[in-house]
Amino acid sequence: MRQRATTLGLAVVLVLGLPGTVVGQAGTAELLQQARQLYERLEIERALPLLRQVVSPEWPLEVTTAQRVEAYKYLGAALALREKRDSAVLYFRAALERDPFADLDPAQFTPAQTAAFAAARRLTFSVGARPISETRVDPRTGRLAVTVVTTHMAALRATVRALGGTKEVVLYDGPNDGVREVGWNGLMSDGRLAPPGRYDLSLVGRSQIRAQADSLRVYLDLRYEVESLEDTLPAFGPGELLPERHSESVAGRDLLKGLGVALGALAVGSLVANDRLGTGREGRVMAGAATAGGVAAFFYRRAHRDIPQNVARNATRRAERDSANVSIRRRNADRIARTLLLITPATASVPEP
């Protein structure tokens, strides 16, 4: 009774003096520390009430899962020392149900305790996975490593699937007893890079000792870390290329130019020449040739509207653009090939009912 009052007093002091959560965890930790010290001094009778306090629903302070598992382990170990094996096994099972990774160090616990823990393992079936920290994965060389566990011999299947998707990647499918590391290189079953999004890592275990099954889902967010990509050069818009055909009016203009030359020749003869001296037939010959040239140009232009020089220059520009785009696409492909996957936990592990 005095012990209970002391611990409650300690709890009250801590609650009044520190912020809520920290106070709760610190108070629970203090109590667990005290219980462990009593256990290690083999003062089992004094340690047991403290440990029971921690796991009691009436304990007013916050208790983390790790603290609760620790309390169950020491309760089981203490009861095993008092040769209450069944009770010990029950507490060990409680520890394993909350943390499948829970274990007893043979160097610190007696063979009877570890035997009771092993018995609890055989009676309890659960699967677990260690929390996944933010990981960068190079799909070519690295992989996401996930540590999973079954409390005893089981058939274990670990898969990854995009949330809402149907294709899954099997990371492991086989027998398992204890801790195992499974890995994912970020590729889907078809060998392609997993697209960015949310994924669930599913663990399904079926006990090979008992008719029990357990499953677990861990949600992951996957993002790409890729160097920024270059934009390809856009297609040439209207007005960016040289005209490749003459307009209808060009033929007429050519005719006018020819007639202009003809008029010029006549003008040279009549306006430039000295009136007294006059001119010969050369001007008229030139005018006739220019008229013929203009008419020839008119018909030639109507029949040949293409502008070969412009067609060639445009083709060169298009080829240069296409070549530049090929280079850009190659550089982008190289960058995409060097894509890293950034995998972060989306939420905590969600045990399935």
Binding site: V261, V268, L277, G278, A297, R301
Partner: protein
């Protein structure tokens, strides 16, 4: 080492980019010439054909040099009182192309009229412009030109008071080949001497055909 050889070596030693912009062309000219003179006693006419050649060296920055020469015999037109004459002329000109369609020209020409009675030597300095606009794509061009002749010196005569020339023509270019047809009238009015004023006019209809010699690759 001769000058042409030195020039050729200098061209060969130029960087390839500059060398590609140097264009050397050679032409043969056949000209129908009509020479008219009025010295106060009526119009004397002589006409005939001149044959000659032109070499043109185009340098970077739109600069070109032209050297030309022609010679031939003009026959007096019956009933005009003229006499036959031999004509020879040698000219040099420099050209600057500020715009693709416009060339500014300046040059000097030495011309000789030789008759059975005398030889008359002319020196003409001209400055003007030539416009070329495409008539049919980049193949046929319409040509118009005009020059002032500020100096026209003739032995035995005072310098011309007013002199100019004007002409039009067509130019055809395909690859390395060039063919021109040009009509030009050159008019020189000399100062009044008493009650008479001497006027001379040299009209030509010239066919010029040639080819680009250098560079070997087309520009």
């Amino acid at each position: 080492m001769s000058s042409p050889l030195r020039l050729a070596l200098a061209v060969l030693l130029l960087p390839a980019g500059v060398r590609a912009q140097i264009v050397l062309s050679g032409f043969v000219t056949v000209t129908r010439a009509d020479h008219r003179v009025d010295a106060g006693v009526g119009v004397e006419r002589a006409a005939g054909v001149l044959v000659g050649g032109t070499t043109r060296l185009r340098l970077p920055h739109g600069i070109a040099f032209t050297v030309s020469g022609e010679t031939g015999h003009l026959t007096a037109v019956q009933g005009t009182g003229g006499i036959d004459r031999d004509v020879s002329q040698l000219g040099a000109a420099v050209e600057f192309v500020p715009l693709a369609w416009l060339a500014l020209e300046s040059g000097v020409m030495v011309r000789s009229f030789g008759t059975v009675v005398a030889r008359q030597r002319w020196t003409l300095v001209r400055a003007g412009a030539e416009a070329r606009i495409p008539l049919s794509g980049e193949t046929i061009w319409a040509v118009g030109r005009a020059h002032l002749l500020p100096v026209v010196s003739v032995n035995g005569l005072p310098n011309a008071a007013t002199a100019f020339d004007a002409g039009t023509g067509l130019a055809y270019r395909r690859g390395r080949l060039v063919l021109d047809l040009t009509y030009t009238v050159e008019r020189c009015d000399f100062p009044w001497q008493g009650s008479t004023r001497r006027s001379e006019q040299f009209g030509t209809l010239m066919i010029r055909g040639g080819a680009q010699i250098l560079p070997l690759s087309l520009p």
